[in-house]
Amino acid sequence: MEFYLRDHTADIAVESLAPTLEEAFSGIAEGLSHAHSPNSLSGNKKFHLNISSESLESLLFDFLDMLIYERDVYNVLPTNHKVSIIQKDDMWNLEGTYYGVPLDTIESREIKAVTYSDMEVKKTPKGWRLYVVFDV
């Protein structure tokens, strides 16, 4: 699982490439964390997520939106992500965990929001490629 911070004029873009969809989702989430604070971090408290959406793109959007929301209300930076994704009927379901690094123990930039701009969720011969632009 890899992620890369990509060039974008005003904001930050994260690309992730992984053999499985779940690893690619985790990769983007780790990229989001890295975009906040590039230092390697570890948290003690485990958090759980459960999200349902109508498509893979909206699942990715809602997942990242949830992480940003929980960052602000629990005052932690989500890191060390693990997710599982299943499709049931017309809905995609994600269950995830992360460890929260208390914000008052780090210096971190604020990412405002996830955007749909140029978003990609694509299966390629090299694996799942995801690309997301975040508003800074």
Partner: protein, 485 residues
């Protein structure tokens, strides 16, 4: 006719600093770019022009889609864009406002001059940095409850007045008197309110800042006099918006529009162009929610104003009123407003979306405070860190050319990742200190990413605005102390 080519987009020069992309394909109207060739070169480096073309296909769009001299790529809509749609037969789009609803800027005056501040810059910087949270997870000046948030969303700056954080003149000199009466807090999600609860009176990060400045040049003496500005005067700029509450609200409505209009959205070149049809419940809900976020942002800037006044009281050992710390004006640059404008000889009610663009109403407009009605509204153009800012006056040509709008700043030309490679924070800080500019930031990365070289030349942006008559130059200011997240 002079033309400019950018990839497969061709622009015709209409007149000096006015370029047009003619109607083609799905465009309902042409697109106009107000820029010099130099700025147009920079604008054409990213997806700005393509995004501008896309906005020209929005239902009910009037006249032309607009890109200001400081335009750059956004998401869906370019930043530095103005899109006016028919309020009854068009649409309203959260992407045309931006995630940071009512990101804007206010200027506070003082009766101090630069010499009063010499030798006190470091102390002032420390006091401001300790008093005004900047960055992530630093809380806000105030600890508020969800009940407070409900009132703030509804009342705007009137809440601050009732609770001792504002004086009546702070309402007089704020756009819309600091309260959008169309606000409906019930249209804001609990998630958004929970995010905003801990952020009342906070700067955030990125390009937001608090800057103490000195007036270094006056261009129009009479207007400067009306505004209460003079050579060497110390003024304070506050640049921030609606924080997590606004960001969440934009996200929420983007998803609501997506779910209600899924088929339509799947045909759009960018989902961030998602729009709710005028007259629909969703359009009405978004407008009411946006107005509530606008109120929240005004409170945010007002509470920071309150904190800054306390800091100056401490430093100078005098009440802030005796320091003349009155509000000059507060302007929004991420906003959609219902306004009446003349289109093809008829007055039409429009949603004027300004995303990275500022209202610039000229003299005579009844919406302006009486103090500005004969002179035109102040427009505050913050420069990038370490560079000039400008105060303009709403120009006589603005209503005709740009739905009463002008630029909002300098616009980026360099990405954050590139900037971090090119600029070392400590070197930038040292260089600025040599110019007597004191910068304190929560993160070194911010200093690199906001370095002077990453933005367009703000003086060129402002000169074009002045030449076109959409925003006339009144004064130029220069930084003394800068606080960032």
């Amino acid at each position: 006719m002079t033309t400019f080519k950018s990839g497969n987009i061709s622009l015709n020069q209409i007149e000096e600093f006015v370029w047009e992309i003619p109607r083609s394909g799905d465009m309902l109207v042409p697109a106009r770019i107000f820029a010099s060739e130099t700025l147009l070169e920079q604008i054409s480096q990213d997806k700005t022009l393509e995004q501008l073309k896309n906005t020209a296909s929005l239902p009910g769009i009037q006249k032309y889609a607009i890109c200001m001299p400081d335009g750059h790529q956004g998401y869906g809509f370019p930043v530095g864009g103005v899109v006016a749609t028919d309020a009854n037969n068009g649409c309203i789009s959260p992407g045309g406002v931006g995630y940071d609803i009512n990101c804007g800027v206010r200027m506070i005056k003082t009766n101090l001059s630069y010499s009063d501040l010499r030798g006190k810059e470091e102390s002032l910087g420390k006091l401001l940095f300790n008093k005004v949270p900047a960055g992530l997870g630093k809380g806000g000046v105030l600890n508020t409850s969800l009940e407070d948030i409900e009132e703030i969303l509804s009342l705007g700056v009137e809440w601050a007045l009732s609770n001792g954080y504002a004086v009546p003149e702070d309402l007089d000199f704020c756009e819309d008197r600091g309260r959008r009466t169309d606000a409906d807090p019930t249209k804001i999600s609990l998630r958004a309110k929970q995010r905003g609860k801990n952020q009342v009176g906070s700067l955030g990060s990125g390009n937001h800042f608090l800057e103490v400045q000195r007036v270094v040049e006056i261009f129009r003496e009479d207007v400067a006099h009306s505004y209460g500005l003079s050579q060497d005067q110390i003024v304070i700029l506050i640049h921030t918006g609606s924080r997590g509450l606004g960001h969440q609200t934009c996200t929420d409505y983007l998803r609501k529009i997506e779910m209600e209009h899924a088929t339509l959205l799947s045909k759009l070149p960018d989902k961030e162009l998602a729009a709710a049809p005028s007259g629909s419940q969703l359009a009405s809900d978004y407008y009411a929610a946006m107005c509530a976020c606008i109120n929240f942002a005004w409170i945010n800037r007002q509470i920071i104003t309150y904190a800054v006044r306390l800091v100056f009281e401490e430093l100078f050992n005098k009440p802030w009123e005796d320091l003349g710390m009155d509000l000059l004006y507060d302007v929004a640059h991420n906003i959609a407003k219902k306004e009446f404008h003349m289109v093809n000889g008829t007055q039409r009610e429009l949603f004027v979306h300004r995303k990275g663009a500022t209202r610039a109403f000229p003299a005579g407009n009844p919406e302006l405070p009486s103090a500005f009605r004969t002179v035109g509204q102040p427009v505050i153009i913050p420069g990038s860190m370490g560079s000039d800012s400008y105060i303009l006056r709403g120009g006589d040509a603005s209503l005709d050319l740009t739905f009463g709008s002008t630029a909002h700043g300098a616009g980026r030309i360099l990405s954050r990742t590139k900037a971090k490679k090119l600029f070392k924070a400590s070197e930038i800080q040292a260089k600025l200190k040599e110019q007597n500019i004191h910068v304190t930031a929560t993160l070194d990365a911010t200093i690199s990413e906001e370095a002077p070289g990453v933005y367009k030349d703000v003086s060129e942006v402002v000169n074009i605005s002045d030449f076109l008559g959409i925003g006339d130059k009144v004064a130029r200011t220069y930084p003394v102390v800068n606080i960032k997240g």
